[in-house]
């Protein structure tokens, strides 16, 4: 169980995270979505007590992270897979964490094995690891303390398609056994397959959150016409504003019937008219956050 209440972080007056609230329930996977620089990582660092919030609070299992006595046994955290000493072996990284958390060192080989790193990989130094291997090592580290909660920042980065598929299975299984998962990504499709709930953040603010199926259902209608210019005029006359997708369609935040009638009245030939689904959601946070993310990335 993770509870985030009105978390805010300002850097020199500029809000990187602005009044963010959400909860993650046991038994669910929550996808934390947003473009780069939207404030996902800052929010997660605040949950884990690494960054002091300007305002608001966060608790894990009802306790602020910094007050958890031995947090590794409650919460598995992977915030940045590259943040490991390049000169340490993978096995040593886990051995140190096991020693810190009071986990039996004999569990280290099993922990490596669970994430698909064999004994040879464990003996190698992290410097020689690919990003995918580092993600696996980070996941092994997060799971080592047998936690009830997982907080993972972009864990799919650097994983190959097989690795992403494997990780989804692992997280799904973890949640099905009663665990709580908070998982961030800048790609909707990456979390769509595993998340039960979505929290979409853009420019520091939550722009949408809720049940995945609900969110996808209300994400608008995709319409494509033989004559795009005429369609734009029809939509304009009906008082609807659409956003263009990359492949020539338009996503309109309304039901298909409204658009269908408007098109029929104007005698417009439609090629496609369907619920926008994930494409609509993706389009939504792209338009909501475009521009800001670029500025934030270079901050």
């Amino acid at each position: 169980m993770i509870t985030v209440e009105r978390l805010t972080k300002k850097y020199g007056g500029h809000p990187a995270v602005d009044n963010v609230s959400f909860t993650c329930e046991p038994g669910t996977v929550t996808g934390f979505l947003g473009p780069n620089g939207a404030g996902k990582s800052t929010t997660m660092r605040m949950i884990c007590g690494l960054t002091p919030p300007t305002a608001g609070s966060a608790t894990v299992g009802g306790t602020p992270y910094r007050r958890l006595g031995n947090p590794g046994r409650h919460v598995g955290v992977l915030l940045d897979a590259s943040a490991q000493h390049a000169g340490r072996t993978g096995r040593e990284v886990l051995a140190l964490a096991a020693l810190t958390m009071g986990v039996d060192k004999r569990e280290v080989p099993g922990a490596l094995d669970r994430v698909g790193l064999n004994a040879t990989a464990g003996k190698r130094r992290v410097r020689a690891y690919s990003l995918g291997m580092r993600q696996r090592l980070g996941l092994a580290l997060a799971l080592l303390g047998d936690p009830a909660v997982l907080i993972l920042d972009e864990p799919a980065n650097g994983l190959d398609p097989e690795g992403i598929y494997w990780m989804r299975g692992l997280l799904r299984d973890f949640a099905d056994r009663g665990g709580t998962v908070l998982l961030s990504s800048h790609l909707l499709r990456e979390v769509e397959a595993v998340a039960d709930r979505l929290v979409v953040i853009g420019a520091g603010k939550v722009v949408a959150q809720g049940d995945k199926a609900e969110l996808l259902a209300q994400s608008g209608t995709l319409v494509r016409a033989a004559d795009p210019a005429a369609l734009a005029m029809v939509l304009d006359r009906a008082g609807l504003t659409g956003t263009k997708t990359t492949d020539g369609g338009v996503v309109v935040p309304t039901g298909s019937e409204v658009i269908g009638r408007a098109a029929a009245d104007a005698g417009l030939v439609l090629l496609e008219l369907r619920p926008a689904g994930s494409g609509g959601l993706e389009q939504m946070f792209l338009t909501l956050t475009a521009g800001d993310s670029v500025k934030e990335a270079v901050r």
């Binding site: 690494l50 915030l79 340490r88 009071g102 047998d146 056994r177 009663g178």
Partner: protein, 262 residues
């Protein structure tokens, strides 16, 4: 009385999890971190070889009457007093330069405990290196006697513990500089250069000469290698240590507690 069934809804959380990580265990972790990277391990190996080297130099080139336990011990402390502080610096700075602080402070949010464990680990490694130097000096002395050297064992007890004090002061100074500057190259350069710069200034500028007698760490630590330091010498050493060790340490701890980890 009714028997209440214990609620075990979240089976994954184990018994021990609620208690804070004990300081002893953290110290073990920090000691292990000193030697489990290539940089740390090689630094320790170089210190070991260099210490053996000091004995070899004395055995090979010193006059026979200087081949005593005291001489072997005093010279043997030199490599570790120079290089162990670098290990201390790296212990602090690697958390930031290698970004392991993210894992370290996620597993132990009470950063002051991690810093405390690092300081204890530094003192322990200084003590261990002093003990190792004693053993090595004894072995070299036996060898020296066999080769016709003086082989005397008499050494003032004060020298042993003053040697330990020297090691501890320098390692803590390294840790303090590492905590304050948070960057390996900057901290290493500052650690070695600043005392030298201060020595030069103290020697050349007349107005600074009195202050240098209290604040020049190269001057005030020199009596540590002479038997039976006086109270006045300890006072000067104490003032120097406050300025070169405690002050940067206090500022460094303050910085480390406040710095955002990312």
């Amino acid at each position: 009385m009714t028997a209440v069934l214990q609620n075990t809804q979240t089976p994954s959380v184990r018994g021990e999890s609620g208690r804070a990580v004990p300081l002893g265990r953290l110290t073990l972790v920090e000691l292990r971190k000193l030697a489990d990277t290539r940089a740390g391990l090689w630094l320790l190996i170089v210190i070991g070889f260099a210490t053996v080297g000091t004995s070899a130099i004395l055995l090979g080139w010193a006059p026979d009457n200087e081949l005593t336990f005291g001489e072997f011990f005093a010279f043997g402390l030199l490599p570790s007093s120079v290089l162990l502080p670098v290990l201390g610096i790296l212990s602090m700075t690697a958390e930031w330069s290698q970004r392991t602080a993210l894992t370290t402070f996620t597993l132990v949010p009470a950063r002051e405990r991690v810093i405390g464990a690092k300081l204890i680990a530094g003192v322990l490694i200084a003590a261990a290196s002093t003990a190792a130097t004693i053993v090595l000096a004894a072995a070299a002395n036996l060898l020296g006697r066999a080769l016709g050297g003086d082989g005397g064992w008499s050494v003032s007890g004060s020298l042993i513990w003053q040697g330990l004090l020297l090691q501890v002061i320098f390692v803590l100074m390294g840790l303090a500089f590492g905590a304050l500057l948070m960057s390996s190259p900057v901290a290493i350069v500052a650690y070695f250069a600043l005392p030298i710069v201060w020595s030069i200034l103290g020697e050349t500028i007349r107005a600074l000469r009195t202050a240098a007698g209290w604040l020049d760490i190269n001057v005030t630590t020199a009596p540590l290698s002479e038997p039976d330091m006086t109270g006045g010498e300890y006072a000067r050493l104490g003032v120097t240590a406050a300025v070169w060790v405690l002050l940067p340490l206090a500022l460094g701890v303050w910085r480390m507690l406040r710095r955002e980890v990312s």
